[in-house]
């Protein structure tokens, strides 16, 4: 397999290679060695390449990804797959804050826990977390799905728009305008697909649905800023 060793090359060299030389080279798989927590690894990918990151990565791994499949055999720092457009990012370990922030599409799978603000402002991305998510997850989430196989922290789904959250475990508290709703057949079908794509085996019937009550969609002058 083609490999780039970050003990010997800089992240800038790696990313320039991924952007300029890799497309059209016929290389379909590539591994990145010794990431050692470096930031911005494999950001801005724009092609159907499979990348294996061997170790822990820093901030913004695979940010803005289109089409590529990236697997991290370790943990990631803040903002993994932020603003992802399409493709797949899989984290074998845990993810720090703001995982999948502002993502427009694609699938982000975190096998361990995700920290605070997972899926903040998500705009169409699907995020499946094998463990638990921290406080304020899916804050102002606009579209897409957040699936939490473990527990959710405080303020889940605060100021939600049209993203939908599925939680298997306990929810510490819901944020403003987020509410638990009955699961429909459509929910169970969507969830079954997401769990299958993420390679988890949980039964969709074990999950709760959280969505927006849409009371914040219109300004309420009588609310006196109390929500």
């Amino acid at each position: 397999m083609e490999s780039v060793d970050l003990a010997r090359r800089t992240v800038r060299e790696l990313n320039q290679y991924l952007h300029r030389q890799l497309p059209g080279s016929g290389i379909e798989t590539l591994e990145i060695l010794n990431p050692d927590g470096a930031h911005n690894i494999a950001v801005g990918l724009d092609g159907p390449v499979e990348i294996e990151v061997r170790g822990h990565a820093g901030y913004y791994l695979a940010g803005m990804n289109q089409h590529a499949h990236v697997t991290v055999h370790g943990n990631v720092g803040w903002g993994v797959a932020e603003n992802m457009m399409s493709g797949l990012v899989r984290v074998k370990g845990f993810a720090s804050e703001s995982a999948g922030a502002s993502g427009h599409g694609g699938l982000l799978v975190i096998e361990g826990d995700a920290s605070l603000r997972c899926g903040i402002s998500m705009k169409g991305i699907d995020i499946v977390v094998g463990g638990s998510v921290g406080n304020f997850s899916a804050f102002m989430a606009q579209a897409g799905h957040l699936v939490v196989c473990g527990d959710a922290g405080d303020g889940l789904g605060d100021s939600l728009y049209e993203a939908v959250i599925y939680v298997r475990g306990a929810i510490a508290s819901l944020g403003a305008d987020a509410r638990e709703e009955p699961m429909t057949d459509t929910d169970r079908a969507t969830l079954a697909r997401l769990l299958r794509d993420a390679a988890f085996t949980h039964d969709p019937r074990e999950f709760k649905r959280v969505a927006s009550a849409r009371t914040l969609y219109h300004w309420n002058a009588d609310a006196n800023q109390e929500y």
Binding site: H56, G77, G93, F94, S96, S115, L116, G134
Partner: protein, 306 residues
Amino acid sequence: MCGIVGLLIKKPALRAALGEWMLPMMVKMGDRGPDSAGLAVFTEPVGEAHLKFSLYAGTAAGHGAAEGQPAWHTLARDLIAALDPSASLHPNGNHAIVTTTATAQAFRSWLRRAWPSVHLLSGGRAIDVYKDTGHPREVVARYGLQALAGTHLVGHTRMATESAVTPAHAHPFTAGTDFCLVHNGSLSNPYSIRRKLEPLGIEFETDNDTEAACRFLEWRMREGDDLEAALARGFDELDGFYTFLMGTHDKLALVRDAFACKPAIVAETDDYVAISSEFRSLAHLPGVQHATLFEPKPETLYVWKV
């Protein structure tokens, strides 16, 4: 933005490596804090009848010394004559460590009277403090800090956001004895804290927000709170963003504010506990690939004992 680092060595045989393992931690976190750096190292305590004090002379305190070098031998002679015939002084550039049988109060008032230009960085039986302006790489090299040995240390790399870039504004901050604190973040009510403490006779040396947190917590512990109780009160009274790392003679303690806006990561093995703002400054540590790694939760106190 700032960087924090902490390292506690569990096995006595490895304590000689404390400085060597710390060096890349501080240098990597120089990206988060390039303007100043500092650290507090906790060593084997001096004898029960003794205290040690870390002093900073800056560049102005020539006092007749050779150019650029403080007159530490003159200060030592004055100290021996005025306060304690058994006192000793170990200079390290513009820093020095005094060991004495004088009480903290007696030493402080003598220093203020006799050598007002010399700044007292810390006092206690285990703590030594070094801090200065400059990139962490330069500060560590300036004082040879990679050679430090000890049980644990608390380090900081600063990118100033709310007060001046001077050695006094660099972290760690200390208060009382054998206590220090470093901070990544910014407090929004340091002046309220200060107005509360000053009428109690607590003096401030800078206008830095972190100093308010440091003096608040030390005040609570002097009033009888243990570290846990002091921090519980801190959660109520200190407003703003913070990851705090604190050191006492036998503990490292770490907390993040309720919104956890500032990062931290912990790596623990049988040999050490290492704390940093970011994993990349821990990546060089031996065995870190197999360490237990976790991110501290908001408003939760983590304490490691030597």
